[in-house]
Symmetry: C2
Subunit: 360 residues, 2 copies
């Protein structure tokens, strides 16, 4: 791995890292798709759509995992593959979550189930194209779940390192499914309290995006309790801030940036952080207006506009921005230069910014 030097500027190093993780994950999935689908009618679909789906990712979780590894381990192709396996776990979650949430778009392009449904129609087959699309996306989700574990097991890390990683990996997989289940029963019409919401966040996205990947990588490298504790704290803070930003984008985000219709979270009645915070900060009259919006049978464009204005008027939008900044700053302070290698501390600083800055 001569081209990835710790001496490079951290941002450039991270970008190269993301590219290498993509190459590994794309290569692994392409090989599996060719192995299982060559010569079958579904092969054409599997061998193009599935690796493309992998390539569309930002590889955040592999980056966190590899930076976690670099808190105690040397540059290593095996560790890079182990880190990249987390992107396949993420692909599993995206493919199936989009089916469950009925999301037509992913990263501004048709979601996997929509693509498969269109393919079914193009083939001129009988039966429901939508049903086929959902089932096929679920099955490819299953394959991503299997392939992730296999990519990790076959990464080339030695058995002792893998043995340290499995409990973290298992926890992450279980939290992902359990968190998605909790999301299914999350409905804005029965708004949770701010504290309950933070608990759900910690169980799902917060841990999943930052903390667990960092801990996983550091565990693989055999890092000690001090490093693990600091990474857990950093990860909890950055993960929460990342989720808050995502929730702001889900209400106020520009469709050209998010790849989703404006106010999508409001249309879905998602009890997201900004929605819950607005309810807590609302005065009596604003709360009555919010209750009216929550009771609407469908949330149309006009209702989205009213709801957005109301959230802003409560001060929740601004307050959430402050909470994001506070968490990003606190996270940086957790990384003690006396405990962490310089390059790891620098990478963590870049990643904290990347995950919380406004225009991403």
């Amino acid at each position: 791995m001569a081209s990835i030097m710790a001496e490079e500027a951290p941002a450039a190093w991270l970008e190269a890292l993301s590219g290498r993780c993509l190459t590994e994950a794309y290569g692994f999935v392409s090989a599996r798709a060719a192995e299982h689908f060559a010569g079958h009618s579904e092969g054409e679909l599997a061998e193009t759509a599935v690796p493309q789906f992998v390539a569309g990712g930002k590889f955040l979780r592999p980056m966190f995992a590899y930076v976690g590894w670099r808190c105690g381990g040397p540059e290593s192709d095996a560790a890079l593959r182990a880190a990249a396996s987390l992107e396949l776990l993420h692909c599993f979650a995206l493919a199936q979550d989009d089916v469950m949430d009925g999301s037509p778009l992913r990263r501004g392009r048709p979601a996997l189930h929509v693509r498969f449904a269109r393919w079914h129609t193009e083939q001129g087959w009988s039966g429901s194209a939508d049903r086929f699309g959902e089932s096929a996306a679920t099955l490819f989700g299953d394959l991503f779940l299997v392939w992730s574990e296999r990519m990790l097991r076959e990464s080339g890390l030695d058995p002792a390192a893998l043995a340290r990683g499995w409990p973290r990996y298992d926890l992450m997989r279980a939290e992902l499914a359990v968190g998605q289940l909790a999301d299914l029963v999350n409905d804005a019409r029965t708004l949770p309290s701010w504290e309950t919401l933070l608990d759900v966040l910690r169980r799902k996205s917060g841990n999943y995006t930052v903390r667990r990947p960092l801990e996983f990588g550091a565990a693989l490298a055999g890092c000690g309790p001090d490093v693990l504790a600091a990474l857990a704290e950093y990860g909890g803070l950055v993960g929460e801030a990342f989720q808050f930003r995502d929730d702001l984008l889900g209400v106020f985000g520009d469709p050209a940036v998010t790849g989703k219709p404006a106010g999508q979270d409001l249309r879905d009645r998602k009890a997201s952080s900004v929605v819950v915070l607005a309810a807590e900060m609302a005065d009596r009259r604003q709360r009555a207006d919010l209750d009216d919006l929550l009771a609407l049978p469908t949330v149309d464009d006009e209702a989205v506009a009213r709801w957005c204005a109301l959230i802003a008027a409560t001060g929740a939008r601004e307050r959430l921005g402050e909470l994001i900044r506070e968490r990003a700053e606190k996270a940086q302070a957790v990384i003690d230069p006396a405990v962490f290698p310089r390059h790891a501390a620098d990478s963590l600083a870049v990643l904290a910014t990347k995950c919380t800055e406004r225009d991403q």
Copy 2:
């Protein structure tokens, strides 16, 4: 494992084996459900419905895997746990297949997604109960998939044995998803040829139920190429016969035995072995009648009765019964007493009968 003696009558030994696999799988799943769901609103559901779902199984695949192990290995609790992990893989497949196929019943009781949908209604939650049921069943399917792999990894088998098992295990998991995908595009309105159908069977149920579990168990035990080749042949034959019997039950089975409405496969327009064979054996007039049935917009009770009579009239029902018996006999002949330990050969003979006898 003092109570499981090779000297016991093979049928009694197999029954005890099935019970022990159930105990292991049930215990593992109960512990995982308690670990992940204690104190959450979904916990009540997860901690009862999910282990009950495991307990409803016949544990055929674990039995084949353990008999495969006993072709070269000693009695072993670790191998028993590794074998039992295949039942969790099976639970994954059943939970998600029932969602994809829209099957309301499983083993004569409400399918998992139906149970979860009812629970959603009982809670008085807003949103679609059906959608929740399907999503929750898919997620518990995912957890079964994860738990199966974890149960195998944590079975206590030594690393060398596990290393021999992983490739077989991975193949089984991939074939399962790929086979289900092939099933989604299987539609009786475009009847495949008998040869194409056999190819699909070999890719899916045939391999999955008998051959792969046997090979997996034998690989864990380090069996040599002679044993593996014979088990592959036995497994191919018994697996195909098992599927043929299942297909006969899907058309002619007594609802009280199958736990499904009469002629369910015809209502689903499944291009099953008996349907395809009937089309191949039909004379010109019978074929025209079959084409009329295939073209019906919906298959009602009267159409099921006509279709059943027509299949019997072509001779396909009787012929398939002969093919089942031929395969069962050929399978027994493959197990050379000079190559296989006596108890393994005896168990394989009992299992071949169990999987192919008419009234099961």
